[in-house]
Amino acid sequence: MTSPLRPALATVGLFTILLGLAAPLAMTGLAAAAFPERAKGSPVMRDGQLAGSALLGQDFHADRYFHPRPSATTEADPAVSGGTRPAPYNAAASAASQLGPTSATLLEAVRQRAAGLGGRAVPADAATASGSGLDPDISPANAARQLRRVAEARGLPEARVAALLAAETRGRELGIFGEPRVNVLRLNIALDATGPGR
């Protein structure tokens, strides 16, 4: 039996160069040439400034904007060594609540969010945190419940906001995959472009 050391070093070493450097670097070049926007994270520009990514959700509080789902992302808390504090839609640290189905903490959070949204037949996505903490979408039912608030805050006719919402609602991909959804950032940018906010 010959020593397996030389073949091991040769295969692992050469494959590290081929699969770990040559292939991903070539793929990076190809991606920049063929899909320049997507390769660098689908940036959304506003007034010449980076305003976010079309794929990543961001936090909205103002009444004149549609609100995204709750987010469980956190950031380092400077007050506590090694501690964290809530920081919704912190894209530098994707995270879910990881709370289980019998968690009292989760039940209390869901209860409070549901109460804040009318307390009855609340769309599930409006009261639960996503897996990434960066979900860019909400369900059409969730968006529909926010319509009146947004229209009132902007002094726009409800029908006008509803038309925008309908235009920004996307159906299943290829007519079959996934579920209908509304990208909150795109919808809010479209709203801002429509008329003056208050």
């Binding site: 494959f15 590290t16 879910a96």
Partner: protein
């Protein structure tokens, strides 16, 4: 559950089977050395290594070569992770990993587990991702497939003295199977929105004037091999639930396809290698049946939702959405979860820790059944063959005949080794979980009180020993105790399993191949498929029942009673 949801599931699985048919034949051609379109690169690698591809190896030499390749990969990856702070392609300036975390991560990626006690976007340099983790995504997959080809050859004909050449198998599978598929899939993923860039993280000013750091990196290519090689280690912390790693329902459907297609194709490749395609099809149908069953159970449990949340005012129409993404929908989330745990991938497009108790039980049980449904690339097939041997042994006991599988007599030595292999998983999982549930240092890692806390710990060792890598993420895994013991569980689940399997292959290879007679139990029909499915359930699953009763099952009844912790 909706009709459209089931249509999504049926369509993706149909595409998996449709692609597995030609791919199985192609893998058999690679195994026979008939694929040569990258011959200059192949010759270069074999030449530098001083490898004669025509020189066959017995089971011991083959296993030793495999261990040498994996040990080399481990040392290289460990060094890279420790030193990433002073190496290039590190625009965020991440420091090297702690020894505990570097050990855990290196073992994790070499054993095709891809358990992650770190979060990619806040810990890994681009070099560590590409040249460290990405490379092991390829090589751990080639390792598994090479072993599966060696085991398959043992059944092909009688009186074999060797199982093939490990280095040739390892090199050819990487070059001709994984690399072309990863390039094609990587391009598709960039087109769908997964980033592939070396630029540093970007900083955006949000519409409301806040600041958002946008993580980037060479992700698309790595995500491609992460699914094809059933590795599952996310480029970003949230894995395929992250909008940059799973940008759309179409992308998640393609990832499901990618993580299932090679394991299914390998079952069919087995049929080609042993010269009887029906044998491969029977194995694949058993795998497919379990995947469908698991998907249906998860889908039903999650669509029913959490009764406490519904009572708190949620509309039950969308089911349980905690930890899930709107764009995927429940059907693709259920199918993704069943294939990622059945196939030993471990990628997730939703957080299993927040599933309903029964929705979380199914993925855990699919891993515990031995990672053969369809199992990891390669490991699924050789695991399935162990169960096939045990199935014919059980059938032989019923009628009092010496059992045979594909004309090879199954005797005491093979059955003992098969049982030894099958016992590795329950001994590792239940042993470590039991110790960790009484050790204060380990209990401190548990997030949830009540039965769910037990589930978190049980799932961690299940995932590690099954070389899966998915998690009940509430568990704080980056501690010396968990990093070390989970690392050991991964090593046992991979190597303590494969050595007896290779010993079986060596013994089987040498046996003469008997012609089928009227007394031979046919191993391609529905009777055998049913028996195999039953043996997997009983020999693979029964020993986990008490633990599952204390964890997810207990939690289910507690939830129905309206209690929280």
């Amino acid at each position: 559950m909706t009709l459209n949801g089931w249509a999504q599931i049926a369509l993706v699985l149909a595409l998996v089977v449709a692609a597995a048919l030609p791919l199985g034949r192609y893998i058999a051609a690679i195994s026979a050395g008939r694929v040569t379109f990258l011959a200059p690169i192949e010759r270069l690698i074999l030449g530098v290594g001083g490898i004669d591809p025509a020189r066959g190896m017995g089971w011991r030499a083959y296993t030793l070569a495999m261990l040498a390749a994996n040990a080399t990969g481990f040392v290289l990856l460990y060094a890279l992770l420790r030193l990433q702070g002073v190496l290039p392609f590190n625009p965020q300036g991440f420091a090297g990993l702690s020894p505990w975390l570097a050990f855990n991560t290196a073992v994790s990626f070499v054993t095709n587990t891809n358990w992650q006690a770190y979060s990619g976007e806040s810990a890994m340099s681009y070099l560590s991702q590409m040249a460290g983790l990405g490379v092991q995504n390829f090589l751990s997959a080639s390792t598994g497939i090479a072993l599966a080809l060696a085991v398959s050859r043992a059944f092909a004909s009688g009186g074999l003295r060797d199982l093939g050449n490990f280095w040739a198998d390892f090199t050819r599978i990487t070059l001709y199977l994984l690399l072309p598929l990863a390039i094609a899939l990587g391009i598709a993923f960039v087109a769908m929105g997964i980033p592939q860039t070396l630029a540093p993280y970007a900083e955006a000013t949000t519409l409301e004037g806040g600041r958002q750091v946008i993580p980037l990196g060479p992700a698309a290519f790595q995500v491609a091999i992460k699914h094809l090689g059933t590795n599952g280690g996310g480029f970003f912390g949230a894995n395929s639930a992250h909008p940059f790693e799973g940008p759309s329902a179409l992308a998640t459907a393609l990832q499901i396809w990618a993580q299932a297609v090679i394991p299914f194709a390998l079952a069919l490749a087995f049929g080609h290698i042993v010269g009887d395609r029906r044998q491969g099809r029977a194995l694949m149908l058993v795998m497919l049946g379990y995947v469908l069953l698991g998907t249906g159970l998860i889908y039903a449990a999650e669509a029913a939702g959490n009764p406490l949340h519904i009572a708190a005012g949620l509309d039950p129409a969308m089911g349980n959405m905690e930890g899930k993404e709107v764009r995927f929908g429940l059907a693709l989330t259920a199918l993704f979860t069943a294939t990622t745990t059945g196939a030993s991938c471990g990628a997730v497009n939703a957080m299993i820790d927040s599933f309903t108790p029964l929705g979380g039980l199914v993925p855990m049980f699919l891993i515990q059944l031995g990672e053969v449904l369809p199992g990891g690339v390669g490991s699924g097939l050789y695991g399935m063959l162990v169960f096939a041997l045990l199935a014919v042994f059980v059938a032989g006991l019923m009628v009092g005949r010496t059992p045979e599988y594909l004309g090879k007599k199954v005797q005491a030595r093979e059955v003992k080794l098969a049982m030894l292999a099958v016992l590795v998983l329950p001994a590792t999982i239940l042993g470590f979980a039991a110790v960790s549930l009484v050790l204060p240092a380990a209990i401190a890692s548990i997030q949830e009180a009540g039965p769910h806390g037990l589930s978190e710990m049980l799932y961690a060792y299940t995932s590690a020993a099954g070389n899966n890598g998915s998690a009940f993420g509430g568990l704080t895994a980056d501690t010396p105790w968990l990093n070390t013991t989970l690392g050991i569980a991964m090593l046992l689940g991979r190597f303590a399993y494969v050595v007896p399997v290779m010993a079986i292959a060596g013994a089987v290879a040498a046996k003469p191949k008997l012609a089928a007679s009227s007394g031979t139990f046919p191993t391609h029909g529905p009777l055998f498929a049913g028996l195999l499915a039953g043996v997997i359930l009983i020999l693979g699953g029964l020993q986990f029942m008490p633990a599952l009763a204390l964890g997810p099952l207990a939690e289910h009844f507690v939830l129905l009673a309206g209690k929280t912790f």
